[in-house]
Amino acid sequence: MRANRSLAIGVATVCSVIGLFGLSASAQTSSGPAPINPPVAKCNMTPDTNPQNPKEPYPITDKLLTSGQPCEPVVSIEGLLPNDPLGNLQRGFDFYSWLTFIALNSPADGKTIGHGSGPGGDAPTEWESLKNYRPLADVMLPGGAKPSWGTRIVPDACKRLDGPGKVILQVTEEAWNQPFKTGPLIDQDGNYALFDILMNEPMFDFILDNGLYSKQGQQKFNEQVDFPEGVNPDDKKQPPSPGLMGAIMLKTSWRVIDPGKDKDLAARFHTADTLIYFPGPPYTKAGPTCIEKTLGLVGFHVGHKTKDSPQWVWSTFEQVDNVPDDANVAADRLSPHYNFFNAACWNCPRNQTPPQPWDPPATLHFPTDFRSQVVRVNSLPPEVIDEVADLNRQFRAILKGTVWENYELITTQWPTDAKSRVDPTGAPAPTYLANTTLETYSQGSVPLASSSCMACHGNATTQHDPATASDFTFILEKAR
């Protein structure tokens, strides 16, 4: 029997066998392969407005902290705003993003978010447990070897440092160089920011069962890549259909927390005691070696494939101290401290890449005194900014006193016309979206050049010859 898939907090259910509706016959026999996207015990279907009166907001109270992971967003054109279907839908997606953030970042041991034993109630999260999510480096293995779920891979160089609760982060090009080699991000302490990519079990199982974890396997796969979709249960159907989680992929960004120097900062971040592995040439200039650092979470991307958004739903969060936005800089409304901006450096050029060469040394400290001076370039419509700020205020309030109150949603990108036959990206709203830690250098509102989750991910392909669409993920192009 497969391990527990439910992300419902505090409910350690075993996935019951009711949910074989709509799945292939082979999945129903005990000797066939287990389903890639099995039914989940519980989908969080909390809407952003009152079900009895859509003009009223759903109350944002600490009840939401245990409401679980949504299987898909629950949204409507009706809502708080009169005559604004786009605005109402956007708020629904943003509300879903917060529920997702809370569910994913809840402690893996089943406690309520913010009730862990670390500073500020911090604890290892659901997504940091190998029972629930798997990092890319442990899926796309050397030689295209077959990965296995849940196993913990400790590189040799890290074995002497290993211990309980430690997270392993393997340094590939993508772990320090932003997409398409646009450049590294250097924090105000002079350390490289690090990035990681993870996927949930349905996404992993699709890759495993279709052999997509190797170049060879991708070449043999002549069908369309179509990751499993999340969908809420429907009791009205005959027979009722269960909730399915669908594929979820994450991208995380981290800064180094120096336990001495940054002692007071630590409680503002979710941290992870991390073993950072440099495989050595040709993958990294430094290494092979392994170092240990306390890393603080500064950015969090979620991509969720759902039935109504086959172009996926894209949510992104940042730690609140990351950067000022361009309006605040212009008005000189600055905080004393940021992760990636120095308020005192009035003439530091902004959003520029560091001087070359870029390859990180094993210390993760940038060799010159360069520090990234990053400003958020605003590309969101003002209505979206206001609506998100309002949600952030309320969700951060229910997380008050925990490390998690120091995170905010930027917004959610979603397809407004998912079924379009003339726009494979489904007319995304909002048009542009960037996380200042993950798309630092491509922020803006220039079509195709500036960061947009769907426009960029829409170009992702497999390594099949000829190249085929990889269903909005660059994960498949990392197979060896």
Partner: protein, 624 residues
């Protein structure tokens, strides 16, 4: 700040285009310290600013995304006011009006004629690969032996077999997509078990439509009577797989002037790799102004002028020194620099010029454009700008008497010849007929408009014939004695004409175009140019009325070639086959300027092969 971080470099390279970048990277990997001087602006963190400039441009010409801005206060920017100017296709118009080709207040090049040199380039990081199409063809073997095989011009000092491994290295270095089994025509060979780094780009529907006509294509004359006509997918520096951490082509149909997702290779990729070696640095906005020669004839430094803003004053004059120097400025800017370098009168004819050939034998691929309306929808404006061509006619006995050509099949409708879909759309809305598609000059709206516009646009296609131009020493780059740029440096002066050999190639191209359209049952719409068009000439053709000339227009293919040609001897050439100056042991002149003949293939792949060969030579022969 321009303070170089590499003090005491081993090599100074002028120009960060493909030749300069490829050599810098190879030298950097070999542990040599390299300093690049780049006249244009720095490598930006993203192409946002280029794309924004492009999107806002009303004239989306090849130069439109890049600086200097083409327009200032509504008029063409006066080249005398910019520090690193360059030509634009907007200044190829008749004299007396907008874009006058010989008005120095509009045109960067001082064109003395009789015909206008029609190609342009960029002076910016990554050079002209910023706006190139990406076509990466090898030369055919006979291209290197025109004298031996056809008693024409000169042979190259090297032949195809010497360059063959370097072609492969270049294809892997820049990332070329093609299938080897389709590329072995006209004697082109590959090393055993060779494969391109990426599979070929899929052919377009336009390609398929042209392909259907190949079995019935007949051209009566020009030595093409017995050609077994076939189309060939075009090898391109354009990703068909994720490669070098860049995305796969999404068919933006915008390779020229800029690929929005950088699926097309440009030299910024190589520059980034070069920087990562830790051994390469670049000084931006630094215009080389003189190659300094010492009393022993060795190059002793490069003088430069640095500026901060494109139209501001110079902010620094200095000199960089190294042991070895590479000039990679393109076939107009490199001779300009060499000729400017008078060294206080000690080199009155410029540097590297004892044979008097620097600046001579300027060539382009003058391009014959023909366009037609297919009988059925052919679905243009989709995919890369070109995915296939007709290559089989690039070589033959006819090269004894006329320029050969290759045929580039365009995927972008009538955009190149008439600026569509703008022209036809305005025609149909405003009741005009600039396109030729609105003969009754109807002004339409509503579904009448959508139907008519769809009917026209969906059937448009064009063919571009890259004609081999003969090398003539009268086609030259010299220095203007009157006109300067904003740094006070003399602007390039061009003398340019097309020979009978080249014009006869055009006649053959014209006949072939019409024959292809006939075989496709397509209605030809190629219209003759105005008599005062400086990029046109008169010539006789077999099909035209006997004894009467027709006026034919040519475009520039964007290829600048020939002005520091390589050869076997210091008396007949400027550089040897390693692109090393005969006159100065520590000076290399690299790029298409080294080509003694232009052949018919787009030149960049050959530039890259030669650059890698030169880098290898430098590494092996000049220990650190």
């Amino acid at each position: 700040m321009c303070a170089q971080r590499i003090i005491d470099p081993d090599v100074v390279i002028v120009g960060s285009g493909p030749a300069g970048a490829l050599i810098a990277k190879q030298l950097g990997l070999a542990g040599r310290k390299v300093l690049i001087l780049e006249a244009g602006d720095r490598l930006p963190p993203s192409i946002n600013s280029y794309m924004e400039r492009f999107l806002n441009a009303t004239a989306k010409v090849p130069e439109s995304p890049y600086q200097p801005d083409l327009f200032t206060d509504g008029n063409l920017t006066d080249p005398a006011t910019v520090n690193a100017g360059r030509p634009t296709v907007l200044t190829l118009s008749p004299n007396g009006g907008f874009g006058a080709w010989q008005d120095p207040k509009q045109a960067y090049l001082i064109q003395k004629g009789p015909l206008a040199f029609a190609s342009t380039y960029e002076r910016v990081n990554a050079g002209t690969t910023r706006h190139w199409l990406g076509t990466s063809l090898r030369f055919v073997p006979n291209d290197f032996e025109m004298k031996t095989k056809y008693n024409r011009f000169v042979d190259w000092p090297i032949n195809y077999s010497v360059l063959e491994p370097w072609y492969g290295a270049a294809e892997h270095e820049i990332g070329v997509s093609a299938n080897v089994q389709q590329q072995g025509y006209l004697g082109i060979t590959f090393e055993p078990n060779y494969s391109y780094p990426m599979p070929g780009i899929p052919e377009s529907l336009v390609d398929h439509a042209v392909e259907k006509a190949m079995p019935t294509l007949k051209v009566d004359g020009y030595g093409l009577q017995n050609i077994d006509w076939t189309i060939t997918p075009t090898p391109a520096a354009r990703n068909s797989q994720p490669y070098q951490s860049r995305r796969v082509c999404a068919g933006n149909t915008n390779c020229i002037p800029i690929c929005p997702i950088q699926a097309k290779y440009d030299a910024s990729v190589t520059l980034a790799d070069a920087f990562r070696t830790g051994n390469v640095d670049v000084m931006y906005r630094c215009v080389a102004s003189q190659v300094v020669v010492d009393a022993n004839g060795k190059i002793a430094g490069i003088d430069f002028i640095r500026y901060d803003t494109i139209d501001g004053p110079p902010v620094e004059r200095g000199q960089v020194k190294a042991k070895l120097y590479v000039i990679a400025g393109n076939a107009i800017e490199t001779p300009r620099l060499l000729l400017m370098s008078k060294n206080g009168g000690r080199t009155p004819d410029g540097v590297a010029n004892r044979a008097g050939l620097v600046g001579k034998y300027l060539m382009d691929h003058p391009l014959y454009l023909a366009w037609a309306l297919a009988p059925e929808p052919i679905w243009g404006y989709r995919g890369p700008l070109s995915t296939s061509g007709i290559e089989i006619c690039r070589d033959g006995e006819f090269r004894r008497y006329r320029g050969a050509f290759r045929i580039e099949i365009g995927n972008e409708g009538w955009n190149f010849p008439i600026g569509d879909p703008y022209t036809t759309t305005v025609d149909l809305v405003d009741g005009l007929n600039d396109s030729g598609l609105n003969r009754d000059k109807e002004a339409l709206y509503g579904s009448a408009l959508t139907t008519a516009l769809n009917n026209g646009l969906s059937r448009q296609f064009r063919l571009g014939f890259l004609v081999e131009q003969s090398p003539e020493d009268s086609n030259s780059v010299t220095l203007s004695d009157k006109c300067t740029d904003h740094l006070g440096l003399p602007r390039p002066q061009i003398r340019y004409d097309l020979s009978d050999y080249t014009k006869e190639g055009f006649a053959a191209a014209k006949a072939t175009a019409s024959a292809i359209f006939k075989a496709m049952n397509a209605a030809e719409f190629t219209s003759p140019p105005a008599p005062d068009d400086p990029t046109s000439f008169e010539w006789h053709t077999f099909e035209g009325p006997p004894g009467q000339n027709v006026r034919i227009k040519y475009y520039g293919a964007g290829h600048l070639v020939g002005t520091h040609r390589m050869g076997t001897d210091r008396s007949n050439s400027v550089v040897d086959d390693k692109q090393r100056s005969w006159n100065h042991d520590n000076l290399y002149l690299v790029g298409c300027g080294s080509f003694p003949t232009v052949a018919t293939a787009n030149p960049t792949l050959t530039l890259a092969a030669l650059a890698l060969r030169t880098a290898d030579h430098i590494v092996k022969n000049f220990p650190p």
